[in-house]
């Protein structure tokens, strides 16, 4: 493999009282895909930010190709050959993929009036595409592209600079379906073949074995393990144990006792929405978690929003506690006892710049005011304190803006908001996207607790999640629901039902 392309040793970083990184040693070989693992708060984001020049280390050394480097700004890192693709890449949706790739460096001339030479640009794009044969139409507007195509555009944009030797991908698969993920892996394989080393952050442990050559595990601000995937495979070491530092059991809670299943809380009959889903029927009971598995584009997200009144259905019937209801907007759904934990918590769930005291009561202001107009501040505060304790918000600060929490803890704030709204039908859409394994187990456990008094529906494009947490599952394929032939889906049957639309293999 030759000399390492990047060596970090003894890197430390402190934020006030928090030692974010302690004596991190890290090594990256040329042309390897190296996974970076760790729960939220383990220090991997801080480390990545130092490598990409967004933060400065307090001490330690970083060597690239044998030379000591010190980055003061992201441009320094790019000049040294390290490109980064953020978790949510900033692309201009109204511009084509090609324009996005060369945005800001259309010409060699630095003058503002420098003319854009379309032909030269296209030649450069062709050269780039000749190296990396991505099957996407770059003349499309980015806003029209699928998630994986946008990710590919962001990667091409990052590596379009000459001399890139290291590419950092921050959770690129969190919004991708299984099929799209394969496309991304194909692109990563091409990059690897070109000698570009990839540092790859993921929460999906099975991906490590699918794509990575080696991995490092961060825990408590230190890099606690580095091994090759082959070593890990032969020694049978558990990645989850390495990340948490202690043996973890199953992250999924126990299944419900089928006899404990209660009344039907929600019944959906022949529900349809144009360009969404068709004739979907199911029931959700108190005392159980119903799983709804579907890939992106299956209509799952639309179905959840439709039941919640965001985009009311065209046809069909919704019954709550046996009574037919017509829910035209979220207010009516909330009043009817439905709470939606939305798939995109950053735009649909939280006021990011505000703290928990602001966010948690938002869906039930009536309760916050004790049925009157003026807020019951003291009562509100103690209620929220109790709920954030219950969801184990970490750090347990009520006055920290939501944006200051990790993905998992932001989701816990949304959960506390759901608990505060005292619904009896909870719909979770993609509840653990971008959530680390520790918080995931907590969130699943909370769903189980919730199911004792409420009907819980989990909607997800992660088959293992749906199968793992739900007592009963159905799949949605191209807008139609698929039920198991034999009453219960096995994991593989569920996956096939979601991908192929068949009830069994």
């Amino acid at each position: 493999m030759g000399a390492p392309v990047l060596i970090a040793s003894d890197v430390c970083k402190r934020f006030g009282p928090v030692q974010a990184l302690r004596n991190v040693d890290f090594r990256l070989e040329p042309g390897e895909v190296h996974a970076l693992l760790g729960i939220n708060g383990a220090g991997k984001s801080t480390f990545i930010k130092i490598l990409s020049g967004a933060l400065q280390k307090d001490s330690g050394t970083i060597r690239i190709g044998g030379e000591d480097v010190h980055f003061r700004a992201p441009e320094d890192a790019i000049r040294a050959g390290i490109a980064t693709v953020q978790q949510h890449p900033e692309l201009v949706p109204d511009m084509s993929g090609l324009d996005n790739i060369f945005l800001g460096r259309e010409t060699a001339s630095r003058s503002l009036m420098g003319r854009i030479d379309r032909e030269a640009l296209e030649a450069r794009a062709d050269a780039l595409l000749a190296r990396f044969a991505v099957p996407i139409d770059l003349s499309q507007e980015v806003g029209q592209m699928s998630a994986v195509e946008r990710e590919a555009v962001a990667i091409l944009q990052a590596i379009a600079v000459d001399g890139i030797r290291v590419l950092i991908l921050d959770e690129p698969t969190s919004t991708l379906t299984d099929v799209e993920r394969e496309d991304l892996f194909a692109l990563m394989n091409q990059l690897r073949a070109q000698g570009i080393a990839i540092i790859y952050i993921t929460h999906q442990l099975e991906e490590v074995f699918a794509i990575a050559d080696s991995f490092s595990v961060f825990r408590g601000g230190a890099c606690v393990a580095r091994m090759s995937v082959d070593e890990a495979r032969s020694s049978g070491v558990s990645l989850a144990d390495l990340m948490l530092g202690e043996a973890v059991g199953d992250i999924f809670p126990k299944k419900a006792d089928p006899d404990a299943r209660g009344d039907v809380f929600l019944e959906v009959r022949d529900l349809s929405l144009t360009h969404g889903f068709e004739n979907v029927s199911f029931t959700a009971h108190r005392g159980e978690i119903l799983g709804l598995f579907g890939l992106v584009g299956s209509g799952c997200d639309e179905l959840a929003k439709s039941i919640f009144g965001v985009d009311p259905p065209d046809q069909g019937e919704i019954r709550i506690h046996g009574k037919p209801v017509s829910l035209r907007k979220p207010r009516e759904a909330l009043d009817a006892g439905i709470f939606l934990v939305p798939g995109d918590r950053r735009t649909e769930g939280l006021a990011l710049s505000r703290h928990s005291l602001f966010n948690v009561p938002m869906a039930n202001l009536r309760r916050a005011a004790g049925g009157r107009w003026g807020l019951k501040s003291r009562q509100l505060r103690s209620d929220i304190q109790r709920l954030t304790d219950q969801v184990a918000l970490h750090p347990p600060h009520l006055n920290t803006p939501a944006s200051g929490f990790s993905g998992g803890n932001q989701q816990k704030i949304v959960l506390a908001k759901g608990l505060y709204s005292e619904a009896d039908i909870y719909i979770f859409v993609e509840p653990t996207v971008g959530v680390d394994i520790g918080a995931r187990a907590k969130i699943y456990g909370l769903m189980r607790d919730l199911s004792e008094r409420a009907a819980v529906i989990v909607v997800s494009s992660d088959c293992d999640e749906v199968h793992g947490v739900a007592d009963r599952t159905i799949a949605l394929h191209k807008g139609r629901h698929v039920e198991p032939e034999s009453g219960v889906f096995s994991r593989d049957d569920l996956l096939m039902a979601g991908i192929m639309g068949k009830g069994s293999l």
């Binding site: 006021a351 107009w373 003026g374």
Partner: protein
């Protein structure tokens, strides 16, 4: 709703504000001793009442993250309408109610156009404001209205005093107290803030975001009517250019207050408008022509907002970094 740490931070900002007001007062007082006289302070209070009411209305609009550029036009049209009604011999209370109703309708038109039909806020309110400016001429073709002004009792709003303080100031304090209660102590207030912070999340939380946006414009226009009413009371005539001087101080007060207090709120707007009014009156007293003083106050506004913004703090950090590339305490951080 707050921890003691938060309270501390809040009161530190509040104390800073008070200090700033005292410093401005001391500077003007030193340059022009008349600034601290009873007459001058009384004038500041009266001007602050008018400016402050306009700023309060704007506060609602800024909280829902919109802009209202129709303030001057709404003020002009409502001023002439109220003037015409006074001249027609209507009793004062009915004139005020009619003015408020007219303002509510105009604000409602802007608000519904923006919230319900999704029109861009800046363009819509410029248009509505311009229409208002034009309509202000329909009564007299531009001549001022003064008939019945001295018998109607409107000038009492300017002259009458209660416990040594002008009634206009009492009006201001009462309406600010009411707005403070609504915005920071009721669920309506939380809904206003939620609408501005993240309309999508607010909608998913069952908050009628469109209604709150529209309501903000209605309240803004109604506050503008009250503000221009005080201006009519002070001058004793209704003219088409009344209210032209309300917009800049209102924006300056809201944004300077928000910059200093770390967020838009009723208290921030109150402090902001106090500071702005002191500057405007101080410069006027020192003989600075009115055509310069707006510019000077706007400049101060820009500097103030910049000085308290996060972006400016980042730039200062970067400048520091330019001169002292590494912290002297960090060892071996540079190659």
């Amino acid at each position: 709703m707050r921890t003691w740490k938060d309270r501390m931070r809040h009161s530190t900002r509040g104390l800073g504000f008070v200090a700033l007001v005292l410093i401005v007062a001391a500077i003007f007082g030193a340059l022009e001793p008349r600034f601290l006289s009873y007459v001058s302070l009384n004038g500041i209070a009266r001007h602050m009442a008018a400016n402050g009411l306009a700023a309060l209305g704007l506060t609602f609009v800024v909280i829902v993250r919109k802009f209202d550029l129709s303030i001057a036009g709404v003020a002009a049209f409502c001023a002439m309408s109220m003037g015409a009604l006074i001249a027609a011999g209507w009793p004062l209370w009915s004139v005020i109610l009619a003015g408020l109703a007219l303002g509510a309708v105009i604000g409602g038109i802007s608000g519904i156009a923006i919230s319900r039909f999704g029109l861009p806020d800046i363009v819509t309110t410029i248009a509505v404001g311009s229409i208002g400016t034009g309509l202000a001429f329909i009564y007299t073709g531009g001549r001022s209205i003064f008939q019945n002004f001295f018998t109607s009792g409107i000038t009492d709003l300017n002259d009458a005093k209660l416990m040594g303080l002008g009634v206009s100031m009492w009006l201001l304090v009462a309406i600010y107290a009411l707005a403070w209660f609504v915005l920071s102590r009721t669920r309506t207030g939380l809904a206003f803030y939620a609408t501005g912070e993240n309309p999508m999340a607010a909608h998913f939380s069952g908050i009628a975001t469109r209604r709150f946006v529209a309501l903000a414009y209605v309240l803004c226009a109604m506050c503008t009517v009250l503000a221009v009413l005080l201006i009519l009371a002070e001058s004793g005539t209704a003219e088409t250019n009344k209210g032209a001087n309300l917009m800049m101080p209102a924006y300056a007060g809201v944004f300077l207050g928000a910059a200093i207090m770390g967020g838009t709120s009723v208290i921030a707007s109150f402090g902001g408008i106090l500071l702005i009014t002191m500057l405007l009156d101080g410069f006027a007293l020192m003989g600075l022509p009115y055509y310069y003083s707006d510019g000077v106050v706007s400049l101060i506004l820009l500097i103030g907002v910049l000085a308290f913004s996060d972006g400016a703090r980042g730039t200062l950090e970067a400048l520091r970094f330019l001169f002292w590339p590494q912290k002297p305490t960090a060892k071996g951080s540079d190659a």
